[in-house]
Structures are given as C-alpha cells and as structure tokens.
Subunit: 298 residues, 2 copies
Amino acid sequence: MAERQSQIVLGLDPDPAALWPGSGPERAQGSPAERAAGAVLAHCRALIDATAQACVAVKLQLACFERLGAPGWSALQALADDARAAGLLVILDGKRGDISVSAAAYAQALLGGVRTPFGTAQGPGADLLTVNPLMGQDAIEPFVSAARAAGAGVLVLVRTSNPGAADVEDLELRDGGVVWERIAQIVDSLGAGAVGRMGLSDVGAVMGATAPEHLRRARELMEHAPFLLPGIGAQGGRVQDLAPAFAPGRAGGLVTASRSIANAHLASGGEPAAAARAEAERLREAAWALSDRAGAPC
Amino acid sequence: MAERQSQIVLGLDPDPAALWPGSGPERAQGSPAERAAGAVLAHCRALIDATAQACVAVKLQLACFERLGAPGWSALQALADDARAAGLLVILDGKRGDISVSAAAYAQALLGGVRTPFGTAQGPGADLLTVNPLMGQDAIEPFVSAARAAGAGVLVLVRTSNPGAADVEDLELRDGGVVWERIAQIVDSLGAGAVGRMGLSDVGAVMGATAPEHLRRARELMEHAPFLLPGIGAQGGRVQDLAPAFAPGRAGGLVTASRSIANAHLASGGEPAAAARAEAERLREAAWALSDRAGAPC
C-alpha cells in the first residue's frame, strides 16, 4: 500500500456478454465455455494492465469463473498469477463457508494446495479470502489456520452492502446488539493473537460501503481488523464516507470497485482502458487523501 | 423416492489420499491435479455403482472438487451426469451465498448455464443446491428463481450439525425465538407460492441430524419444506431421531450419509463396494420404515 499509495482493489467480475471490445477468445475452436473463458481472460488481463499502477489488489468474484466450468477455473488461476506478476495482492471472493473437513478442503482449494498420492495440486493461492460466518467460529477456524500457514488472511462477512442484510445480519439480540456485531466480536477474537507491527490482524471483515453509519461501530468492535469495503460506485457507496475504516492506519481499509472501473468508458466516454485507468486513479487519490486525514501513517 | 423406496442420499466428499483400493487415475501422465481428479472420479463412480439402487440422490461436496482445480471441476460435471444416468437426483452442496448479480452467476454456474457470445456454457445442472442465507432474502431469491426456471430446488442452511452452530444460528432474538427460526420463516415464505401436490415446496432446509431436538420446531415453522438431513453416522446422528422430518410425507426428509457409507468396510470388514452397499441398504430400510410410521404416503 505504501509503495503504490493505494487502497484500491480492482474487482474482476466479468460478464462474458459485456466484455471490452477486442476481448476475443484466443482460439476460434473449443466449447462455448472454453471460448468464453478465453475472452474473459483477455478482458481481465487488459483491465489489470490498465489499472495495476493505481491498485493494490485484485478481487476475483469466483461465481463469474465458476459459471464457465473447468475453463473458467483455469482462467481464474491464470489471472491470479498475472495479478501477482503485476505486484498486486490476490483476493478470492468466494464467500465460502462449511464445517470441519469441508472447510479445510475449501482452504486447500483457495489458500494453498492439497497433497495427493500423485503430488500436490496447487490452487490459485489467495492472499486474502472472503468467508461466510453463519455456521460459527468452528467453521471459520480452518480458514484462519490455513491462511496463517500460507502467510495469507481471511475476510469474514460482517455487514454486507445489500438491502437484505437487514433480514439476518441486523436482527436485534435479546442480550443487546445485533447479529453482525456478534460476528464482529468473533472476528476480533479470532484475530487477537495475530496483530502485526502495523496494528492489523490477519482476520479482517467485509463491511459494505453502502452503510457507512455502521463503519464506526464496526471499528470499535474490531480495532485491528482490515476492512474490505465493497459497494463503492455502482452500488452507491462513496469514498468520503469510509474514514472510520482507516482509524488504525492507511492499511485499515481496502476499497473495492468493479463495474465503476470496468465500465468507466460508458459514463465518461473514450477508450475503455484509458477510462478505467482514470477512474482507478481518481478513486486512489480520493481514498489516499481521506486516509491521510483519518488515521495513522501506513 | 417411491420407486426406490429410499430417502438416502449418497454423499460424495472424496479425499484423494483415502480412496478405495484400485481407484487409480486413468492415465499415468498429467499434473497432480489431473491424476488425482481421475482417481477421485473412479472412486466416486465405484461408490455410485455399488449403492445407487439403495439411494435416491447423490450429494457432491463442491469443496472436494474445487481443491483439484479445473480437472476437479470436470470430474464434478462427469459425476453429475453419471448420477443422473443411474437414476439419481443431483444435489450440489456448495453452500453458496452472494448478492444480486453474483448470486445470479452462481445460479447460472450450478443450476443451468450462462449464455455467452460463443454459445451457452452448461454447468453440472443441480436438481437441488445448498445455499447460505446470511445475507438475507434478496441473496436467496436469485437462486430460487433460477431453480424454479430449471425445475430444480434450493436447500437453505437453517440449523447446521456442527458445535459452532450455537455461535450465530442459535442466538436469541430480542423479539423472541432464535436466528435459525427467523431463517426458517424466510424459507417458508419463499416456498409458499410453490407447494406441489405432494405437499412439498421447492425451497427446502438443511437441518443437521445431530440436533434432532430442533427438528420438530423446524417442521412447525416450515410445514412444506423438504429437509436435507446431514450428520448421520460419522457425525453421530441417528436415523431413528428424524421422524419429524417425515411429517408431511415420506419425501419430507433426505437422509445424507458420506463417510459411513464410503468407509463401511473399515468398520465391518470385507470388500469396500459390498460393505458400502450393505450400509446404504441398512440406512434405506431404517429411514423407510421410520417414515412409514411417521407420516403420510410418499
């Protein structure tokens, strides 16, 4: 973050029917999934090339690759490598959640690899992984252990950016507080033993940027958690509302934007790559300036 | 169910380091993931062959295929086809959950396909899909719509079988009840418009079989929901405790068993396929007899 002076995360959630012009498949042959995955790969590579200097990470939406089957999964792994080569962290946004051996299997899939009698099968190797906490602490722990072993981190869904967040996450509890605050306490407790010298732990939180009124409370409950902040741009969130995220320092918030960067040319005109670069740079400047006022040095 | 006289779901959660003897990869060449996926495919095919006549569905644990990358995803699609050819329903146990376009992308991935400029990329085609409700009703609806369009159904996590279920699912609410009961009300409401002639809807619930004391309450709250009941066998649940699931009829409960079938030979001795068949048949008889006493005709 210090090197790039950026907290911006490039969200990659490619729709094969709405790619940048010129994002054709590499080959004219192959199944629809193979050809679409090739086009998705070309599109995402162009987006990374255009915006990497203004960003600190990519966030790959796993649903968009999963719907292209095996070729989609290969494209995901290739993009994770490309992003690393461009100096970016890799956030795998799968919102996985399961229990015991199944949670451990997801952690093998996304954070490291699995030993088999035929050698180790390596996954895309996330630096950060989004995790769903509904099933409780013992469903999150296998992800935390695997992340710790891999030098990676976990981002737990705490308060999401959709209207339906009110249905479960905002339910008021008999003993006070609401469900997402209880999840925030679990996040804080899981990260407590692993706070680094910058004051941040390896267990973070996904906090929707569309409900900034929750950010201050979330920061009280999770003093050391890095926050992933989706919802800027297309979903209506604004960078200037994110100050509490940066209270522990400039690395306290990761500001993610997907459609507002990829589709910047639709709003501003011009060539897609130039428009994306300009929008990423605009967000970078806004977030960096805000974090300068809000918190400690990065 | 009537044809097979069975409510048993064969859980497939293959560990490449613990496959049946003889489950080698088809080819000696290839990457570790390719060879392991070949071995996993052979193992799961042998399990389906051995037990299909005693079962009504397979449940594929997506984590176990995802950790083998693109070859794992290909194996998943092949097994879904094999299961259908054996007359079994296909349950994809991915516990996916996301919002708006991302939820719709998961539904495309697992319930149907996605249109691309190169043709439609078809997924494995679930008959039933497990879904995580943390993010609320608007995060479940895209799955329900897609399932309805595909003649499939959705199974929402309501009260899971792990100890950590107490951390979030069991939290007591200010207005009475607990979190999982509120989720049960969402399930009931989403399925209300689609109750078929057998009295069951297309929105079901995952109810861990390790906490049978919750089953009666769950049935009160979700009169028409099919219940997927994991936790029998290795996790400690017992078939005889599942009667409330069958209150709306014999199709009211799907009893899933994974390790207790695949590893039956470790407990009982003998050849793996014969031991698996015997265990599946034992479970089938027990559940069918129980549902005969508990509920209406199938």
